[in-house]
Symmetry: C2
């Protein structure tokens, strides 16, 4: 159960032309969202980009809201495929948690040019109620749960002590992701990876179980 996540688009073999077109639209939507935010993703912009008619795009997604939600789901599938899936090859516990965090921040590092949709969407939609915001909150909550599960596995394996404040660590980790993104994009510094790995080490060391007597 704990290891489940949506499978990635790259693994699907599109059976029909309609599916291929839908994937091309989502690919274009992700590129536009990376550059201009979800705000920039409109049926008109995607139609222009793909040389399709608006009604052609519209036939795949019944509304702009549906298009934005599909774009978010595709982003999430790719995020989990890059960050969570490879880490599941590591044994449960500290090695897996470190792999997840390593993959996450490697991905954030690659995304500094275009920006992370979780982060940019979180700012764009924090004051806009509706289905898109609800989907973003669901995605963010699921990601927090995945991090919490990975921390709790370290307690199960005895690598972290039982008093580990899971909610607090998840809050710190997400704060660091936001700080990393800000440091790279707004402050245009390249020292984020070094800084964030130091904080990680400190957080993980702090709660690791010590052999008795030490």
């Amino acid at each position: 159960m704990a290891d489940n996540f949506r499978s990635d688009a790259q693994d699907r073999v599109p059976a029909r032309k309609g599916e291929l077109t839908k994937m091309a639209i989502l690919e274009a939507a992700l590129a536009v969202a990376a550059r201009d935010g979800l705000e920039g993703v409109t049926i008109g912009v995607l139609a222009d980009r793909l040389g399709m008619s608006k009604s052609g795009v519209f036939s795949h997604f019944g509304s702009r809201e549906e298009l934005l939600i599909a774009t978010l789901l595709e982003y999430e599938a790719r995020f989990l495929n890059a960050v969570l899936r490879p880490a599941i090859l590591e044994p449960r516990g500290l090695l897996r948690l470190k792999a997840i965090l390593g993959n996450w921040f490697t991905r954030l590092g690659h995304e500094t040019q275009e920006g992370c949709l979780y982060i940019s969407g979180g700012i764009e939609y924090d004051d806009r109620p509706g289905a898109v915001r609800d989907e973003l909150v669901r995605m963010l909550t699921d990601w927090e749960k995945a991090l919490a599960r990975a921390i709790l596995m370290c307690v199960e394996t005895g690598e972290m002590n039982e008093e580990v404040p899971v909610e607090l660590i998840v809050f710190e980790l997400y704060s660091l992701a936001l700080g990393f993104h800000h440091n790279a994009r707004m402050m245009q510094r390249d020292n984020g990876s070094v800084l964030i790995r130091q904080v990680f080490e400190r957080i993980l060391n702090q709660y690791q179980s010590r052999p008795a007597g030490i």
Copy 2:
């Protein structure tokens, strides 16, 4: 020198009607920026809001860019007046650092309804080169320097040890501010103050000088 900062608008006694009008425009600009981001602050919107002509607003700020920069400077003056100025009444060192952090996060807590311009501006302008972005980076850098100075004073007073990694702590503190903002606005949780104070305590304790032998 270290204690210098721009004095707040509230302390100034506007000498002329022109100055009063300029302050009313900035007041309106801050309200619009809080709701819609700097993006929403245009000469037309402010003219509508104040029942002035566009050319009336334009006569106080030669361009939209100049208006945005004046809005940022006014925001900064109020931010420093609320966060840094009262803390300077505390003795240099740990008490002053704790007062600055306490004031900062109290203010962020009040701002969760409208959002902090440092944070929302940082996302809005992270990929838009120009004078507004440059001013925001200058403000953010100055705030980081103010935090760094407050930490270094704790080394001077002997309350923190000399190896304290100032850059890393400033990165962590700013990351926590971003996390707090996200937690309150996007996730609509009210546990941010509790979480952030726990991390603060841990960061400050970690680097505090211990009496010899302990």
